[in-house]
Amino acid sequence: MRRAIYPARVRTKVAILATGVAVAGVLIGLYVTLLATGPAPYTPPAAQAAEGRSVNLTLQTVAAVGKLAPNENWVSYLVREHGTWHRSTVWTLPANTLVHVTIYNFDGKSGLRNPFLGQARGLVGGRFAINGKPTAVIDPDDASHTFAIPGLGVIVPVMGVADDAPHQCDDAPCPMETAHETITFTFRTGKAGHYRWQCFVPCAAGFVYGFGGPMQTVGYMDGYVDVV
């Protein structure tokens, strides 16, 4: 006498379970895709020029990105494109090219957990300038952020704005009339590759060690440098 191995109700439950797993998979996929989708990448105009040239990369760092991003209170980098500030942390740079970087920092001092990172590395000339004054190192407690592309050996500490400085910036993008520090330096991109960049200063307000939120999210204090 033959018996059905799986009764109808078991088959129904299995079908429901399988459908549920499939739906959950699709939802997780969509969520991950959403997380990985940041603002449009930025390519400096000179990136399409001939070899042997240099490009300019102009950035600002703000304590709160405001309406430029979903998390308005998160610290972020902005990039200037055609005279306008955008929130983009995915940059395309040409290979074997000098990149002249200017960072206008409007954020306060957070301090580095590792003072060693207070010295710049990987720069043309080995030094950077704070408001036009060349230096190789800053007091780690004065650091607001870092500009670091570890894969290229580049790290630059970004001097923070003093707490008692007048005309502090309230809303991003910050106007140049508000208190800021200007950091300038040059590095060479080297060979083509896909590199990550990050901030080493634990600057995420409200998170343990200051390393949550914007420090763990591409589009704020992390991004990619595509050297092409």
Partner: protein, 278 residues
Amino acid sequence: MWSRRGHGWRIAALTTIGTAIVLPLVVFVLGPNMPPGKGTPVATSQVTDNTVLLVVMTPFTVFILVYLGYALTAFRAKPGEEGLDGAPLRGHFRSQVAWLASTTAAVLFLAIFGTTELLADNGAGGGAGPNPVTKPGGAPLPVQVIGQQWEFTYRYPTYGGVETATLVLPVGRKIAFHVTSLDAIHSFWAYELGVKADANPGVDNIAYVETKKISTFHVRCAELCGLWHGYMSDTGHVVSDADFASWIAARKRQFAPVMKYLPKYSSSYNPDPTFRAG
């Protein structure tokens, strides 16, 4: 077609034949190519350990695969019997005793073998905590490994506490890695050296190794530590004494500006703040 009394003997015979074929391949072909290579005595010892593990597990693996194949072949339902229950399951005392005895013996052997290897190799390249049970003779060169999101940096206390962003070691020296972290949990994995030690905040995790030849090795973080964990890698070098002396002197000059800001060398660091105000 299949006599019930012959199942056990057939499976035993097939297992023996299969083991006799596979075991030499494991010992002479697979074993020498096991990770992490033979970059250091500790790494070489790990290759041996991995080979021993494979040798011990080979007969069991062959048995399981033979049993699976045999069962699929001998015990499959005949056409027209797909919906019927099979024969009732009953215990087989001798088989159960044989299985328990053999696997227990294998596990106990590996426990004793593994413990012996750990002690013989002063931790076998793994982190042995702040007070290792066994230590190598002589005076190892201390190198502090500092994990942070997301980069390893290295301090050399016998060279003025200079900190560097790359790991360079002299050849023919015993090294004592002092592994710690400034934030999350990381794991310092110097693959070809056979060293892998957790980096915990506030903990001095010591791992020993002896460099035997000039080489290049990979350093990776082996503990999921945040957004850029996958990028937390580096390349280290074992160089001659002369090259090491030249390199460390150059690093002392390069990082002289930041030396005044570095904390005094310590087994671990607990920098402030641990929570940034919003």
